[in-house]
């Protein structure tokens, strides 16, 4: 946090009460110093970058070093913007090392960051002159003019020329002084503010990453964070499966077993009690089946242990519609991708069973290069609408979450073909 980080006041009289006015003046005054010091250094460094390249063995590291020097100097300029203006200019990055010295030197030479930063100092040179003039106009001339009446009262005979006007009386001098005072109070602060704003704009445009650069960086971040989200969702599903397996499922099995024993011990005695126990026994077993269906839907452990082929065999076996299954996925994709492919097949087969009225279905899972392709085809009545049911929507979303694509071809009466393609590189 710096003093200048507070919002910049708009009205000139408010500017007078803000440290911003003075910091802005100091900053644009500083531009001249920067041009004469950093600017010259950058110019020299760039020359070394350019000349270094043909010098082979000695030149290449020099070239690379000089490039880094330019970045360091530009870093001072960003620090200055932060301190006096509270302006955060995101840093540019020098090209990453490639491992080959020649490539590094070439990269330094063609580095857009180098040229942007050089351009900054080149533009700053004329600008700094303009700023000096602005500072004189804003802060030096008005006080001199305000002092004019006093001057005339001292030296009655004097006269001076101000543009087309000849100032020869105290009255005329007072008018000029009044105008100068108004100028000083109202216009000077605005001049400084505009100059500083223009200066800041220049720094952001040339010292910070370009808009495409910023967007590219943002996209990279988003891709990474989305990957983390998707992975953590899958990890969470595995954790829930495991918790249920170790907890509720074991308890229910134990309960059902105890009830089974009770039933046995009772034998043919107490038929009314036996009926109750039998009912409870049946309920407990049903609960086990339901919890198993739930946990299997979350994440079947065999998927982690043995991969898609093993996991999908069981899925195909449970499908009420006969399924032909072929799985050829080598090498195994990540757990997340396997989970998603598994989910696509289970959901698609559930849809086939519920809606398609199909005589048979076919599931093909193949890996071609870095793409996992899941195809589920049936010979049912077709007419499935990808935008319709929540099932297909959920599938599309889950596949899209890993940059995959889901297409559904379902002409009325012509069966349904669902294809999901998921990158798995």
């Amino acid at each position: 946090m710096t003093v200048a980080a507070s919002p910049v006041p708009r009205a000139p009289w408010r500017l007078w009460r803000s440290p911003y006015l003075w910091l802005a003046t100091i900053h644009i005054f500083g531009d001249s110093v920067v041009v004469l010091t950093s600017g010259l250094l950058v110019l020299c460094a760039t020359t070394v970058v350019l000349l270094g390249f043909p010098l082979a063995a000695i030149g290449i590291p020099l070239s690379k070093g000089a490039n880094h020097l330019v970045y360091a100097i530009a870093g001072w300029e960003r620090a200055r913007a932060r301190i006096t203006r509270g302006q955060e200019v995101p840093p540019l990055m020098p090209p990453p090392p490639t491992g080959s010295r020649t490539d590094d030197a070439l990269a330094a030479l063609g580095d857009p960051g180098l040229w942007r930063q050089l351009t900054y100092y080149a533009v700053l040179l004329p600008l700094a002159i303009v700023w000096i003039i602005a500072i004189v106009v804003a802060w030096s001339i008005p006080p001199v003019l305000i002092a004019l009446p006093a001057y005339y009262s001292q030296f009655a005979a004097s006269q001076s020329q101000l543009g087309p006007f000849t100032i020869d009386t105290v009255t005329k001098a007072s008018v000029v002084a009044a105008i100068a005072a108004v100028f000083l109070l109202l216009v000077s602060p605005l001049m400084m503010r505009s100059a500083s704003a223009a200066d800041g704009w220049l720094a952001r445009m040339l010292l910070g990453p370009s808009e495409t650069g910023v967007l590219a960086e943002r996209v990279t971040q988003l891709v990474e964070s989305r990957q983390q989200v998707v992975d953590s969702v899958e990890a969470e599903r595995r954790r829930m499966e495991r918790d249920l397996h170790d907890g509720a499922q074991q308890r229910l099995v134990s309960l059902a077993m105890t009830l089974g024993l009770a039933k046995n011990r009772l034998g043919d005695r107490e038929p009314s009690v036996r009926a109750l126990i039998e009912e409870a026994h049946k309920e407990a077993k049903q609960a086990i089946v339901e919890i198993r269906d739930l946990t299997r839907g979350l994440h079947p452990p065999v998927l982690t242990d043995r991969g898609l082929d093993a996991a999908l065999s069981a899925v195909a076996a449970r499908s009420p519609v006969p399924v032909r299954l072929s799985v050829d996925v080598q090498p195994r994709p990540s757990l997340t991708i396997e989970s998603i492919a598994y989910f696509v097949v289970t959901e698609a087969l559930a849809n086939v069973a519920k809606h398609a009225e199909a005589a048979q279905a076919e599931v093909k899972v193949t890996r071609v290069g870095d793409v996992l392709r899941v195809e589920v085809r049936d010979d049912g009545q077709g007419g499935a609408d990808p935008a319709g049911g929540t099932g297909l929507r959920g599938l599309t979303d889950r596949v899209a979450g890993v940059d995959g694509r889901l297409t559904v071809d379902s002409p009325p009466g012509g069966g349904t073909t669902l294809i999901a393609e998921v990158p798995c590189g």
């Binding site: 074991q250 077993m257 024993l261 039933k263 046995n264 011990r265 086990i288 299954l325 072929s326």
Partner: protein
Amino acid sequence: MAETRVVIAEDSVLLREGIVRLLEEQDCTVVAAVGDGDALLKAVEAHRPDVCVVDVRMPPTFTDEGLRAALVIREQYANVGVLVLSQYVEERYASELIGGNPGGVGYLLKDRVADVDQFIDGLRRVAGGGAALDPEVISQLLVRSRRADPLAVLSPREQEVLRAMAEGKSNGGIAQALVVGEGAVEKHISNIFLKLNLTPTDGEHRRVLAVLKFLDT
């Protein structure tokens, strides 16, 4: 029937103790009850039980620990039956477990222990060198064979009979399950042998071979 000596491997204390109680009530002797694969192997080496009851998911990996221990037992101790219990049954695990020999092996859903008599039946079959496969395993194996299609020659009824054979049922048991006469079952079985090109040598041996064919090994 002679007393059946059992080793139990199950990491959930609750279930382990439940199974111990259940078995002892049914005239079995639990010679050891352990909580992981290594302890199971040691217990089998020490006690040479008739059968061990093994949970698939045990420490330390909580994946297929029990299954791997079961495979070791099947390979090294031919006379020790292995009954694997799991919350899920998987065709892949079943194939690995059965290997080329559907004898002295069982693979059941954990909830089957709740049906005490059937469970004890299965356990005794496995202890005696027979098989006890969960109906759900069988249906998964059938689907796989649908892929490979070695059994396409069998009629649906014959497939049902074969499936019941793989579950370890006798002719009488099959007849009861399919609600047909024992004669009809025998006719189906001889058709199965015929269609699978199994020549009439030892009856029981042919049964095993048919089941092996069925298991696509």
